[in-house]
């Protein structure tokens, strides 16, 4: 496959559609607010049609100028209208591969392939996208990739067979519903609905409507309550439906040395990440899920950019009972200890967590008391609430060292447990403020590459000797004097 190839012509249509989607807001604004029922309307019509044709032309031209080939173990693409660009991606530098089939692609039996590399920060794109190629082509590329990885072995064909036995997680229908109902989705949709309703404030005189209603509603509070409840139920149903379409058939399996994730109903996606490219594993328990013992797991990949976070933080277990995670992941992600013995922070650190919370609350409370005289005093209630939150944060902060893996647990809003392989950690830091120093406490932070920037974990107010332990564990050269003895070469 060394001769340059074009993509399927549908790519031109997809490109055009994407451009229109990106420009839809200014375009509609131009068209709708531009026309005022005068003679100028005609020009606006022509202008709009002209712009559409331009989009289509540029879509076609960019398809025409785009070609790709596979040569010397590199994926080589060439594109560009005026400035000819070439991008050569060596196979061994590929961080992840993302196959997706949108509706347009499915109609024609095509597939979109996105290849991610660990691009340096700032350049913005670290990927090669083949918008629409035939499935045989895609399979071809994948086989060549596999063959190259196996070091010249030709038989990439058999790999498609070994599917079933390597599936290590398949989401059940119950879990799908659970996922939809406990994600942030419903909240987002409700606020969306509210925002939408209040958009029409200018046109619908709510006040008058409500006044008319009020007589009716006097004995009809139930009616309003029901209406509100109905809106919530609708929003929830919409969220469930959305999640259902997105995550239906969610499967994770191991193919050779790759992790392959498949999901989606209307738009099918398949995401491939080589196991040795995984930078860190993150288990996240949000506020709704944690009380039910539910959690989700992500792997962090060096591929992906700011624009699509989806390919740098890859969901591998959308929602499962937490105690199942070690069984599910340990056989596939080697070296990680998913049931670590977490060491917490010392009791004397608790005061620092509380103070940190109160430092945020205090100015708010003062302002509230000054400006809203009698009721402002209610803000004092914030202090115990904040203290309770601090207690949660305090209780959930901890660390563990298991061989080559550092585990940090901390709470932002959700509780996160991050597992980081020493070899993947980009840098490790230790912080001490004078107050911490007095109480012999330290903060430890570790950064792994995730997408364009870093990600990782930070735990505050660890026992100082514990921080020393982690610090010297990470150091390649024995810098501790009292010989903690767990520094590896």
């Amino acid at each position: 496959m060394s001769e340059p190839k074009r993509m399927h012509p549908i790519a031109a249509v997809v490109n055009t559609a994407r451009q229109i989607k990106e420009m839809i807001v200014p375009f509609v604004a131009f068209f709708v607010f531009g026309s005022k029922g005068t003679d100028w309307d005609l020009y606006y019509w022509f202008g709009s049609i002209g712009i559409l044709i331009l989009f289509l032309l540029s879509g076609i031209v960019s398809w025409y100028r785009f070609n790709y080939r596979i040569q010397e173990n590199e994926l080589r693409i060439e594109y560009g209208l005026f400035v000819k660009r070439k991008r050569y991606i060596p196979f061994e530098r590929i961080q992840s591969i993302d196959y997706s089939e949108g509706i347009l692609q499915r109609l024609f039996g095509l597939v979109k392939v996105k290849v991610e590399t660990a691009g340096s920060a700032g350049t913005g794109d670290s990927e090669a996208v083949l918008t629409a190629i035939s499935k045989e082509e895609a399979a071809n590329i994948q086989n060549m990739l596999l063959a190259a990885k196996k070091g010249g072995e030709k038989d990439g064909q058999e790999k498609r067979e070994c599917d079933e036995k390597d599936i290590f997680y398949k989401m059940s229908g119950a879990e799908l519903v659970l996922l939809a109902s406990t994600s942030g989705g419903p909240g987002v949709i409700i606020s969306g609905v509210l925002a939408f309703v209040f958009q029409f404030e200018e046109f619908i005189p709510y006040e008058r409507v409500f006044k008319g209603f009020s007589d009716f509603a006097e004995n009809g509070i139930v009616f309003i309550a029901t209406a509100i409840f109905a809106v919530f139920v609708l929003a929830w149903a919409a969220a469930v439906a959305g999640t259902f379409l997105k995550y239906a058939g969610f499967t994770v399996r191991k193919e050779g040395k790759d992790l392959v994730i498949t999901r989606g109903m209307l738009e099918k996606r398949q995401f491939t990440i080589p196991l040795h490219r995984i930078q860190a594993v993150r288990i996240s328990e949000n506020l709704i899920r944690q009380p039910f013992g539910l959690a989700s797991a992500y792997v962090e990949s060096a591929g992906g950019s700011v624009r699509n976070e989806g390919s740098s933080k890859v969901l591998i277990l959308p929602v499962v009972k937490k105690h199942r995670i070690p069984d599910l992941l340990t056989p596939y992600l080697e070296g990680y200890e998913f049931d670590p013995a977490i060491t917490g922070v010392p009791k004397r650190a608790f005061a620092r967590f509380i103070l940190k919370g109160w430092m945020f609350i205090a100015p708010l409370a003062v302002l509230a008391i000054v400006f809203f005289m009698p009721w402002g005093f209610l803000s004092i209630l914030l202090f115990p609430v904040s203290a309770f939150w601090s207690w949660l944060v305090y209780r959930d902060t901890g660390w563990s060292l298991d061989g080559g893996v550092l585990t940090l647990r901390y709470r932002g809003i959700s509780r996160n447990t991050v597992f980081m392989d020493k070899r993947k950690v980009q840098s490790l830091n230790r912080k001490e403020s004078p107050f911490q120093k007095k109480r012999r406490l330290s903060t430890i932070g570790a950064i792994v590459k995730s997408g364009e920037a870093g990600s990782g974990g930070k735990v505050t107010n660890l026992e100082k000797t514990d921080a020393d332990k982690i610090y010297s564990w990470f150091s390649r050269e024995a810098l501790e004097q009292q010989g903690a003895g767990n520094t590896e070469a």
Partner: protein, 160 residues
């Protein structure tokens, strides 16, 4: 107890920081003076805010020209070992960072006009996800360090 890194940055860094602190304070003075004049002329604030403001300026100047640069210089330490770079810095909060050589992607040196005048340069060590700076090293030393680090980083060739 873990030993802290030993190498200090150039003493001339202190001079540079004091100069930039002076410029900084001067700008603060100008903007603040403008605001004070406006408050008194337009909003008829009491005149005693002038001495209050001057006191504030003095404190600001003291902190940014004398105290902070001194503390900062005293704290700044680094060490470049065969397999890692270690940094320590911070005025109040002391931060220590370990960067393994195998994670170093590239090393830059940089200097602005002020640093150039004092024959200083900043060395920036980049990993795939982070950038770590050692500010205000002697130019020759910075150049040496850059070559040294990039040579060590090259030996430890390993992918992300």
């Amino acid at each position: 107890m873990i030993f802290e890194p030993q190498t200090r940055i150039s003493r001339r860094a202190l001079t540079v920081w004091k100069i930039s602190g002076t410029i900084n304070s001067f700008i603060f003075l100008l903007i603040g003076a403008g605001a004070v004049v406006a408050l008194i002329m337009i909003y008829h604030w009491p005149v005693w805010i002038i001495p209050a403001f001057l006191a504030l300026c003095l404190a600001y100047g003291y902190f940014f020209i004398f105290l902070f640069p001194e503390l900062r210089w005293k704290r700044w330490r680094y060490e470049v070992r065969e397999q890692e770079v270690e940094l320590q810095h911070g005025v109040f909060i002391v931060k220590r960072t370990l960067v393994p050589m195998i994670r170093v992607q590239h090393v830059d040196t940089r200097q602005g006009p002020l640093l150039r005048k004092y024959r200083l340069a900043t060395v920036a060590v980049s990993t795939a996800a982070t950038v770590h700076e050692i500010p205000a090293l002697d130019m020759a030393e910075a150049e040496q360090l850059r070559v040294f680090i990039s040579r060590l980083a090259r030996v430890a060739e390993e992918d992300v």
